[in-house]
Symmetry: C2
Subunit: 342 residues, 2 copies
């Protein structure tokens, strides 16, 4: 083991130094190391042995310069108070790794992704870009388009030049409405998420339209800002209403808000689901905890990330594929936070 450790400050190996050591050309080393079939087995073995003995590490940046591909995917994320996005990020990191891609993380702040962030992406020659929990400003979109950097929005429907992968939020909203309606609920409220997130809007729309088709109007909509605290405040507001005016059922468009609502009810001594039903959306791990047991629509996280990377890699070769929007169906997870159909 110690034999492979190198002195501090020792020069780093390169294809050239290896070539000299092996008595071959640099190009031969390069080819041998990436398994080019034209290199004879003995030569390859000799070079491989040498490389590993000397602890050679290829310089990906130099490779990028000459080949044009960096193996880097930019991952831009907005504020991730919502655990859904941590879970998404982890999934992305690990799936990218298995595909030999690395993630360059960019924090996008709370607004749309601006020029400087887009610039940063381009500076590092990312092969593509995954955007979650944020929108792309139109200039940023132009910049990416101009530089042939494919963009895939995850969990957002793109307003601009970009492909997207998302859960079928509209359908999920409908499904929850149906579940509650069949469960005998008749008066509904919604705790809304971020007002300019397509995700939240679609969920709400699905829910509302399903009920509207049955002649029911949603009685109340409160903003919950897609945060726990927002949900909690909303929950307190419901709790303060006279019981006879309170809705039967509440749809918080994100689990994290549903958790806040449920906690507010608990503190107020309002029984869930005995006095009021609460459903969420996302399927985050915390929503499944026994103390919440939230009935929700679980997003197919792994598949979303996988398909998202597919969309990206398909477009990376320079192949000019048209933008594509993929909607994946979420799965209704029936737990105990809502009274269920008989």
């Amino acid at each position: 083991m110690a034999g492979t450790a190198k002195e501090l400050g020792e020069e780093r190996e390169t294809v050239v130094t290896l070539a000299r050591l092996a008595g071959v050309a640099a190009s031969t080393v390069s080819r041998a190391l990436k398994g080019d079939p034209r290199i004879s087995a003995p030569t390859r073995r000799r070079i491989e042995a040498l490389a590993s003995a000397r602890g050679y590490t290829p310089n990906v940046l130099a490779r990028t310069l000459s080949s044009g591909r960096s193996g880097l995917i930019g991952l831009a994320l907005g504020p991730i108070a919502n655990p859904f996005y941590s879970e998404l990020m982890q999934e992305a990191v690990s799936q990218a790794a298995t595909r030999g891609l690395r993630l360059l993380m960019l924090s996008a702040g709370s607004g749309p992704i601006e020029d400087d962030t887009a610039q940063a992406l381009l500076q590092y020659q990312v092969d593509g870009c995954l955007i979650t929990s944020a929108q792309l400003s139109s200039r940023a979109a132009h910049i990416c388009a101009a530089h042939n950097v494919p963009v895939v929005m995850v969990n957002r429907v793109p307003r601009l030049h970009a492909s997207a992968i998302a859960c079928d939020n509209f359908q999920g909203g409908q499904e929850l409405a149906a579940f509650l309606h069949n469960g005998g609920h008749r008066s509904f409220a919604i705790v809304r998420g971020n007002p300019d997130s397509s995700t939240s809007i679609e969920r709400e729309r699905g829910f509302v339209e399903y009920l509207a088709a049955r002649g029911i109007a949603v009685a109340l909509r409160i903003d919950g800002a897609s945060t726990y605290d927002g949900g909690f405040s909303a929950g307190r507001m419901f709790a303060e209403m006279p019981p006879e005016r309170r809705p039967d059922a509440i749809f918080a468009v994100a689990d994290i808000m549903a958790m806040g609502v449920i906690d507010a009810f608990r503190i107020a001594g309002i029984g869930v689901p005995d006095e009021i039903s609460v459903v969420g959306f996302d399927g985050i791990a915390a929503a499944a905890r026994p103390v919440y047991a939230i009935t929700t629509v679980a997003q197919p996280l792994a598949r979303m990330v996988g398909r998202g990377l597919d969309l990206l890699t398909a477009r990376i070769g320079g192949t000019a594929l048209p933008d594509e929007v993929v909607l994946l169906r979420g799965e209704l997870a029936v737990r105990r936070s809502a009274r269920r159909p008989a």
Copy 2:
């Protein structure tokens, strides 16, 4: 706006194309753009104008190749079921950005960081490496050392060649023990974290030693795996004990486990802190929610990340500074999950 958008497939600008356009040499462009004082003001302005008009983006990778610095920091993280690490990561991303650094994310799986991960870091010529929620294998440490890549562990004390920044876990453990002891508790239990995390061990040691010095032995230690579920199971175990044999106070060495413990007690109908006190460690956002209100030691997250990056950048110039371990004092946050001293 539209004027700056470029046709799809148009060649990307480089110092060379800009130089041609401006009628100067490439080196002049390079110097002008980075504010080299030797370039005359008019020339600089002309070049700057041109660059921004044509949407020029420097290729950081090429720069790295010639200058040796990538501006990339490798961020290796283990499994981040614990929200503390999501919070840490976010903080790291944004602080790095303000320093002009970017983070390359590497998922380290659950074991120590192995050779291949270290290789990946080196391949991308990271200037330095931040490791959290994981240990560095001895080989990986050697590899980084050999390549002059400084390593800083965050929230871990290094076993090997690396600097580190952490909360003073030992002191925090003592402080919690003191708080509980002064609050009149006399029988204690610990819910342990990951058995080979220095963080957990130190917290536990601080707690145990404080009590031992007062002639009290910790009655019971249960493994909680640093997860909510682990805490929840531990809580159930306590709940099933005959009340007279149950400890007075429980120290869960991570807030996320304390949450599990508290929830288990709630389900079992055991009052916190009336029947039993629970304290945690970390200061994650969720621990402050009214339904938990966990008394805990809050880690100074922002300062930890800041000092961690300081340690790193100080070593990046090639400056061979000795390894350094910085301990920051956490702050006791007294909330309502534990009976407090009179």
